[in-house]
């Protein structure tokens, strides 16, 4: 009974947090947006499968849902810091074991049940529904839709359960977690790489998709159940740890960055990135996944339009993905900590853009490496110009649409569609401009002009908005 009460309260709380952040309608529409885009993506399946093996596509999709389960679980368990920035001192039910007469295990069990049901409804059901709609158009037998629902749901559950177990191990011993991760990585290399064992042998939800047997279903449920049970049973909330001390890095950074307009803001941003979970490496890591997607898209695009230049298209796609850097810069920051200083939201945005510019060296380096890899160093300059223009324009659109809160507002359906509606046409135009001659992609640098205009309007808009909303 207690467990159910906790579960129901947490479910309600999760909905209220999201609707407070994104707006009731804005967030409620998100699953429908996902259905739409999933259906669009699924309609491309005939093109994808011409070039990529169906088995590979299926495996990647299941692994992506497992990864999504891990990401959602990780944010739920470790996202208190981000919540504190949004809501002041967040006091959610999951953190209330000290004040409620319920055990940590009961709270964790309720939390796990809530995460499973809530995010299954928001992140698993809609994409599968989109696939279901597309499968009618494509003539794919309808029984594949419920099979996908079960196997992708199992993948999501597997990832979620795994992160619960890993976070519990982390709470007991960071070294044990590192050792386990090392073992998992080594095991994966040996079994997948050396012994050539197929990936489904290590990932039961995928095995279920391929053989659809009761045994695989049971194995998948048992594996997730065992991980979740262990994570909940051995849960440890009191993290033992000595207070950490840090040398003063702000002062030397200010000196290094002294030529910039607001070195103090840039130094703070860099320290935020370095000292938050994952360190500076999370920017590099967050690029690996998009670059994988870019590569996949590139393969398909080059297949559809053989006249395209790989480097030019890579630069265009890379520029659009670079806006995730701005999202990182605003992850733990909003205007509230600056509201009582002599600055406007526009000043803070401008400073964030300086850091964005600095960190764009990462995608620029990626582009240079790609140019060498493609053997197209002669096309590097036009591609760099296109990258610079589009990266500036895309981040300007983010600034205009979402100000200092892209991590929140881009989950609002209307804002997300505005962003896509403003960036996608620019990307398409550049791709088509590059068709006759890849050097023409350099024309993308003119996007700097609308970028400057949008940034200026965005700064004004969000400065006024902050005064209105505070």
């Amino acid at each position: 009974m207690v467990l159910f009460t906790l579960f129901a309260a947490m479910l309600k709380e999760e909905w209220r947090v999201h609707s407070a952040l994104f707006g009731h309608l804005g967030f409620a529409l998100m699953p429908f947006t996902l259905v739409f885009f999933a259906a669009l993506g699924a309609l491309m399946l005939p093109v994808f499968t011409l070039h990529i093996a169906t088995g590979t596509l299926v495996s990647v999709t299941h692994l992506a849902f497992g990864l999504m389960g891990m990401t959602i679980g990780a944010f739920g368990l470790m996202g208190r810091e981000a919540m504190n920035r949004r809501f002041g001192q967040a006091s959610m039910i999951a953190y209330a074991s000290r004040t409620l007469p319920v055990s940590n295990r009961a709270i964790m069990a309720g939390f796990f049940a809530k995460e499973t049901l809530y995010y299954f409804c928001f992140w698993v059901l809609p994409p599968v529904a989109g696939f279901g709609i597309a499968s009618i158009v494509l003539g794919i037998p309808l029984h594949w839709t419920p099979i996908f629902l079960i196997s992708l749901g199992l993948s999501f559950l597997f990832g979620l359960s795994a992160v619960f177990l890993l976070s519990t191990i982390y709470a007991h011993s960071r070294r044990a977690l590192l050792a386990l991760m090392g073992l998992i990585a080594a095991g994966a290399v040996v079994t997948l790489g050396v012994a050539g064992i197929p990936v489904q042998a290590l990932f039961p939800p995928l095995a279920f998709f391929f053989d659809r047997s009761a045994g695989s279903l049971l194995l998948s449920l048992l594996a997730s159940g065992a991980m979740a049970f262990a994570g909940i049973w051995f849960v440890k909330v009191e993290y033992a740890g000595a207070t950490q001390h840090y040398p003063n890095s702000f002062r030397p950074l200010i000196r290094t960055l002294s030529r910039l307009h607001s070195p103090h803001f840039v130094a703070k941003d860099l320290l935020d990135l370095k000292r938050s979970e994952g360190g500076l490496g999370k920017i590099l890591f967050s690029f690996l996944f998009p670059i994988g997607i870019i590569w996949l898209l590139l393969e398909v695009l080059l297949f559809i339009l053989p006249g395209l230049n790989a480097l030019a298209v890579f630069a265009i796609l890379l520029a659009a993905f670079s806006t995730t850097i701005y999202n990182w810069l605003t992850e733990f920051d909003d205007f509230a900590p600056y509201a009582f200083f002599p600055v406007t939201a526009g000043d803070v945005i401008r400073a964030k853009l300086q850091t964005y510019l600095l960190l764009n060296l990462i995608p620029v380096a990626t582009l240079v490496i790609a140019a060498a890899g493609f053997g197209q160093l002669d096309h590097l300059l036009p591609s760099l110009l296109a990258f610079a223009g589009l990266s500036a324009y895309a981040v300007a659109v983010v600034v205009y649409c979402a100000g200092l809160q892209p991590n929140i507002l881009l989950y609002n359906t209307r804002t997300l569609l505005s962003f896509i509606g403003m960036v996608a046409p620019a990307m398409l135009v550049l791709i088509f401009v590059s068709l006759p001659d890849p050097r023409l992609v350099a024309a993308g640098c003119v996007l700097v002009l609308p970028a400057v205009l949008l940034i200026s309007r965005g700064e004004r808009r969000w400065s006024e908005e902050e005064q209105r909303l505070s």
């Binding site: 702000f250 320290l271 009582f340 600055v343």
Partner: protein
């Protein structure tokens, strides 16, 4: 005496809630002015209005001879502010945060001495190299206090500055504020703790449901009602009955 804060017909509503209702407020230079009121009476909204963090629906304000509506950033540059709830950025250490605050305010000379002074006065130097997110609430409050006075402002607008602090530290801060005012500066202190106002304030304003029910000397109130508490309760209850 020169007026450092003046408002005329200041009003602000949030949906159906009236947070400030036609407030006419005047604070003279050299005063330690206490803005008192029950929870939810509009004190923090008034602080945000005076420091240009939010715009009023109607009315005008001047702070240190600057029109707040025309130049909110200019006002915040001159004034020292402690907000009610905001915590310092998570991933800077205490010392780095004060250096960051000094940079935002464009301070160049004597910053390190100022920072050392505040670590010493508020006795939290041992936390200088710890991240703000790991600091206790009391230490964060000390940090917020230090950042507000780092640039030695002529006027400090401070919202509940003593919450989360132990009695010893409360004494230190009350003494500091008293000395600060005696040196010719002005403090606008928002609090719901009457004993603090009774002890250090020279004049008070009493807010209830967004309206200013009283403004004047604290002694005049005491003479009429025997104590500040009795005066406060009488004003709040009377205004409640009127509505």
């Amino acid at each position: 005496m020169h007026t450092v804060i003046s408002t005329t017909d200041l009003s602000k509503t949030y949906g159906d809630v009236t947070a400030a209702k036609s407030i006419d407020l005047h604070v003279a230079e050299g005063e330690l002015f206490g803005l008192l009121g029950p929870n939810g009476s509009g004190k923090s909204t008034t602080v945000k209005l005076l420091t240009g963090q939010i715009r009023p629906d109607t009315g005008s304000m001047r702070v240190l001879d600057t029109d707040v509506l025309a130049d909110p950033v200019g006002v915040r540059a001159k004034v020292g502010i402690i907000p009610e709830q905001e915590t310092p950025p998570s991933f800077l250490t205490a010392e780095e945060y004060l250096q960051f605050a000094a940079h935002i305010r464009g301070l160049e000379n004597g910053v390190e001495e100022q920072i050392a002074f505040w670590f010493d006065l508020l006795e939290f130097g041992e936390t200088r190299d710890q991240l703000c997110k790991d600091l206790s609430r009391g230490t964060r409050q000390k940090l917020m206090f230090a950042q507000a006075f780092l640039h030695e402002p002529r006027l400090a607008i401070i919202d509940e500055p003593l919450i989360n602090l132990d009695p010893v530290m409360q004494r230190t801060i009350k003494d500091y504020l008293t000395d600060y005012v005696q040196a010719g500066n002005t403090v606008f202190l928002s609090t719901h703790i009457l004993s603090i106002a009774e002890e250090i304030c020279s004049s008070v304003g009493i807010l209830h449901r967004g309206a200013l029910r009283y403004q004047g000397g604290i002694d005049a109130l005491r003479e009429e009602h025997a104590s500040l508490e009795k005066a406060f309760l009488a004003l709040v209850r009377t205004s409640g009955m009127e509505e």
